[in-house]
Symmetry: C2
Subunit: 296 residues, 2 copies
């Protein structure tokens, strides 16, 4: 009977497989000679992947991260690797909506005045009817889009290449002057680095909101600091370059700027989705079918 | 040619109608003897409605509020009245989501640490997979529901009477122990006053979030203060009883409590929706059809 090494003990394991439990804390399990499928514990440092070369019967590894560069060097020839693509999408989308709504509905103002018991009121911006550029139109952006559509915002998707219903990144400069909100959901690549610089920020209308939940390198942070400190545009940022962002940088204390410390992906919504994926992969593995999310 | 009295000058007016502009500021317009349809300026105090009895040709009045008790006394016999039901729904829904996401994703923590430039991080709750009771299942709750569905929360509607897919308010006590989040969207009536008291709060699981965007009277505020100050549950409140809420009340400064000063309805999303409604009503009026949202 094939054995599988799993980080959680509450999973449905199909008939024909026996589960061994290893959550990444404490010593790695002994008696692993017949482990064929290994689901790496999530967010548990470097130890779990050191076990990979010590599993002689291994056929497949499942990581719960999207990235897997750190696994390839220890992955034996012929062993399949599946990643956790999509498991963080909804968590990031939620935090993105939290940032957008906080900025549009003046939450920082209400939170600031709460300790003094102030009932000072005011009219706010809205999300409804805003034109929102979604720059980087992958699965996270699509999860954000579902929220925006529910809120009756107008979504304008922008991807590296144009396709029906999606603008190409070469159209970005033409789109910026009509944007109320620009959401960046870009990876860090040579093409995305500094894609929002002084020229792009200057093209935005007054009071536009720049949101970044991808990678900090997409924005020229000094150009952004200049525009927000002039009071011309606003920003809500979960990622910065570098991270941790220097605590004495003037961006932290500008009006109209919200900063959260790269926490968009780290919420409870991850676990049920990760467990569901693992159960689906176990079912595939048990019947000899190809795994989903294969990256090697 | 029939004349219509409108608060905005940028509306599409159908052929056959002539518009007079009155936004509620300054003196009321003269030469109104042939005004047949009057759209009351929004949020402009008591002056605009005093004009109603001075319009001898008047056939219909449109208010942009949901409430109209202040108009009935000055409305002549035989004049129709339409209200602004639904125009604020999306604004309230947006703010409700802002409150829920702020609470689940720890925005008060990040905002508190921002001025010091702290990169201290942490895992947060999520909205996804939460079971959310929507108590008071009218048009505002349905707008909230669209957001919650986009975020993959589980929505449990509760209305005054049970119907297919909707629980009755008599089932509330049985539903509370399984709720992660309870959203109150109730008007102030003898039936709703104090509907969430000590017993109901005690029935909630630890760390549950109570959200109120309806009327403050629905919650026994002293019972709520006791539960949140014990650290047992959390709250996010846009409405309180009384308003303004006393600045020295201990609820303001409890951990796990977010208070905004009754600002859910007051955002920019109102105006495009109000203008759209007025243009639709003008089209109906021009062809002699019955107005929508008639309340008399």
């Amino acid at each position: 009977m094939a054995r599988v090494l799993l980080p959680w003990s509450d999973l449905r394991v199909p008939a024909g497989l026996t589960a061994v439990h290893y959550d990444g804390s404490g010593a790695a399990p002994q008696d692993v000679d017949d482990v064929e499928f290994y689901v790496l514990p999530y967010d548990s440092g470097a130890e779990p992947r050191k076990l990979i070369p010590r599993l002689p019967a291994l056929k497949a590894v499942q990581t719960l991260n999207a990235g897997y560069d750190d696994i390839l060097p220890v992955l034996p020839e012929g062993v399949a690797l599946a990643n956790g693509r999509g498991l963080h999408d909804l968590s990031v989308a939620e935090h993105t909506l939290a940032l957008i709504l906080a900025a549009q509905r003046d939450l920082p103002r209400w939170f600031r005045q709460q300790p003094s018991g102030s009932w000072s009121r005011g009219h706010t911006r809205s999300l409804a009817d805003c034109r929102v550029l979604l720059v980087g139109y992958g699965s996270i952006a699509k999860a954000i889009e579902r929220y925006l559509v529910a809120g009756e915002a107008e979504v304008v998707p922008v991807a590296s290449k144009a396709r029906p219903g999606v603008h190409g990144i070469d159209e970005l400069s033409a789109l910026l002057p009509e944007a109320d909100i620009v959401v960046l959901v870009l990876p860090d690549t040579p093409q995305t680095r500094g894609i929002i610089g002084a020229k792009e920020l200057a093209a935005l209308p007054d009071s536009a909101l720049v949101v970044n939940v991808g990678r900090g390198t997409a924005i020229d942070v000094e150009a952004l600091t200049a525009e927000v400190s002039a009071g011309r545009i606003r920003a809500a940022l979960d990622v910065l370059d570098p991270e941790p962002f220097p605590s004495d940088h003037p961006l932290w204390t500008q009006d109209g700027v919200i900063i959260t410390p790269h926490v968009a992906g780290g919420s409870d919504s991850f676990y049920p989705r990760a467990k569901r994926l693992v159960e689906e992969q176990l079912a595939r593995f048990a019947k000899g079918a190809s795994l989903a999310n294969l990256v090697r």
